[in-house]
Amino acid sequence: MSALSQSQAHPMSKLSTGKVALFIILISESVFFTTLLVAYAALRDQNSWLIDHSLARLTIPLINTAILLLSVIPAWYAVVNIRNENQSVLLISLIATFMLGLVFVAGQVYEFNHAGFHINDQAFGGVFFTLMGFHALHVIAGEVFLVINIIRTRLGDFSSSAYSPVEISTWFWYYVTVVWLVLFIALYII
């Protein structure tokens, strides 16, 4: 942002510009995932699906779900602590979220390699890898935001009165987690 627009008076709104932007982006992202899910539903309607519902098959996805759900806790804790000006806990919380995210990505890579089918195996292969792949890309984007915020925390950029980027990255993280839950239910459970 240029110096001009940052310092200019805009008294008609008390919202944070970054949060408004994030909100609009997430709406747009939701339409994207919804249309992918519609494609999934439409194709599923007329095909046999290859996912086996046994517990053995679901082990890795279930562990991944648990890890991602767990990662929400330090993300939330990061915001709580910067509000209290607790820089060191903020740093540790962000790193913890980031590490759990990495474990999730590793788990997904393993899952992709052991799925037992490929993107060109019938329509199902395409749907599975497209949905999972785009979600994984979003997790990686979330990881990038977290890394940026970890560096900025080290540089002392945040305080109890200025922590909007931390909130934005954690909100994005919650969003990615919610999308995962929807995809997990749609692709593995139903």
Binding site: S2, L15, A21, F32, A39, A123
Partner: protein, 549 residues
């Protein structure tokens, strides 16, 4: 005010000049001008493609273009006009005038704004490079699968189209987010939502339409890309895919897209008509709600593009009825424009002529749309020239007339000079007569059963005379464009008069200098009514005083 300090900090930056200062700029006005100029160039490309098609169709059994080239030309004509001309023209005006009209100094994210423009320019150049790299896309602007599957479209043309559309979708999405955030966050004191100019409202609704609808196009082209490049089978029925899925995904974007193209033009017309009638916009609230309603309804009618695909009767009924419903808010807009003209002190300058042309031509396009919403009529007319007539009355008679109205209206603000009035009127009449000669006979051809997108036709069907007339009309439009270009280059060389308020306007952009300074307003204006500049010029007749009486 901290303006002086800010101006100084601006000056302290390395002083770039000439070409580089445009490349590096994040100023919304310069980005707006770059959008407009680039889009006008692409408009010429699309126009030349249209001329080539008209020359080919001038006579039956013509050999001017080969079928293969013809396919590439009509695909690129549609793609260019929609994605590379009309959308960026609207984005250019939005960039330039939304911050000025709401009393802001720039967009909310100036750098994203620059990114959005450069992505658009790259995507356009990328798509056009396909002509020299093995053939342009050739499956029509809506690229129906499975025709676009690798088996049936083996050249890389489709891949160019897919990548180009992905980039353009990205550019438009970040641009739209920027508009939404700017309008929510950066309004001047007193500029409440109910006082925002109609053009800003139109851009606001358009931005929401883009943000909600483009992801569906992204999904569609992404799936197609995976089909083509990684051997997935989304649209391959033999492997459990679905051919109709493309149409649903595409038109869920494609119909809102129609309103993305027309709403900014409606916004321009809703600014021009009041100023040139010397009256406030009649039924402002109805105009705003109509635009919002059109936006909402636009998302619920997509399958009316697919009546011929064999849908269940209830589905047909729903989408037909829903489509009729759009006539209601659209009709309200016509009432508002006519009510504004009614008993006004009319000035028939070029911007007003183009706006009035918009009202008349868009009406015809709208009525054609109602015909096509009648399912049995659509079954008869789908994929004929009747559809081509309809969409061009809406997009040429509508969007393009609105945009040229905007060009004539805002040119003095952007350059400090007026476009020549006499040439402007010639331009208008060439456009008006030319477009009716091209597109009115298409109704007849459509009713006579001439399919769209055929590269030639046999003799003795009664199509020759109308095709000939259409080609003459296309030449007249081309002459109109030429007149505009002459007007542009003559006017830009004249000495600047720099009059701030060229047309006795109502809205805040006319308060700034012509062209405006980098920071737009030395002091952020404060607003008490829908016509802040009128209030300032006529303190005793100010709108807010009248409201209180």
């Amino acid at each position: 005010m901290t303006v002086q300090a800010q101006t100084k900090s601006k000056l302290a930056k390395p002083d770039l000049s000439g070409f580089l200062s445009w490349v590096m700029t994040v100023d919304h006005k310069r980005i707006g001008i770059m959008y407009l100029l680039t889009a006008v160039v692409f408009f010429m490309f699309g126009g030349i493609e249209a001329l080539l098609m008209r020359i080919q169709l001038m006579q039956p059994e013509n050999k001017f273009l080969s079928p293969d080239v013809y396919n590439q030309i009509f695909t690129m004509h549609g793609t260019t006009m929609i994605f590379l001309a009309v959308m960026p023209l609207a984005a250019g005006f939005g960039n330039y005038f939304v911050p000025l009209m709401i009393g802001a100094r720039d967009m909310a994210f100036p750098k994203l704004n620059a990114l959005s423009y450069w992505t658009y320019l790259f995507a356009g150049a990328f798509m056009y490079s396909s002509f020299f790299l093995g053939g342009a896309p050739n499956d029509g602007w809506f690229s129906y699968a499975p025709l676009t599957e690798p088996l049936y479209s083996p050249t890389h043309g489709m891949d160019f189209w897919i990548m180009g559309i992905l980039l353009l979708g990205f550019a438009t999405t970040i641009g739209s987010i920027n508009f939404i955030v700017t309008i929510i966050q950066l309004r001047a004191p007193g500029m409440t939502l109910t006082r925002m100019p109609a053009f800003v409202w139109a851009q606001f609704v358009t931005a929401f339409l883009a943000v909600f609808s483009l992801p569906s196009l992204t999904t569609a082209v992404m799936l197609l890309l995976l089909d083509r490049q990684l051997g997935a089978h989304f649209f391959n029925v033999a492997e459990g895919g679905s051919a109709i899925l493309w149409q649903h995904l595409f038109w869920f974007f494609g119909h809102p897209e129609v309103y993305i193209l027309i709403l900014p033009a409606m916004g321009i017309v809703s600014e021009v008509i009041p100023v040139f009638s010397g009256k406030p916009l009649f039924g402002y609230t109805a105009v705003v709600f109509s635009m919002i309603a059109i936006g909402f309804l636009g998302f619920t009618v997509w399958a009316h593009h697919m009546f011929a695909t064999g849908m269940p009767a209830t589905t047909l009924l729903f989408f037909a009825g829903d489509t009729f419903l759009i006539s209601a808010p659209t009709g309200a807009l016509f009432v508002a424009w006519l009510g504004t003209i009614w008993k006004g002190k009319l000035r028939f300058s070029s911007p007003m002529l183009f706006s009035l042309g918009f009202v008349a031509m868009f009406l015809i396009g709208g009525l054609d749309g109602v015909h096509l919403a009648v399912v049995p009529v659509d079954w008869q007319l789908t994929d004929t020239y009747y559809v081509v007539a309809h969409l061009h009355y809406v997009l040429f008679g509508g969007a393009i007339f609105g945009i040229f109205s905007g060009i004539y209206y805002w040119f003095p603000k952007m350059t400090g000079r007026r476009l020549g009035e006499a040439l402007g009127k010639w331009h208008f009449w060439f456009f008006f007569i030319g477009m009716n000669l091209v597109f009115m006979p298409m109704h007849v051809l459509g009713l006579e059963g001439m399919p769209r997108r055929i590269y030639t036709y046999g003799t003795g069907r009664g199509w020759e005379i109308w095709n000939f007339v259409e080609t003459i009309g296309a030449m007249i439009i081309a002459l109109g464009v030429l007149i505009f270009l002459i007007n542009f280059f003559v006017s830009i060389r004249k000495a600047a008069t720099s009059e701030a308020d060229a047309w006795d306007g109502f809205t805040l952009e006319w308060k700034a200098a012509s062209p405006p300074l980098v920071y737009n307003f030395a002091e952020i204006p404060s607003v008490r009514s829908r016509r802040p500049l009128w209030d300032e010029k006529h303190p005793e007749l100010a709108d807010w005083k009248m409201e209180n009486k």
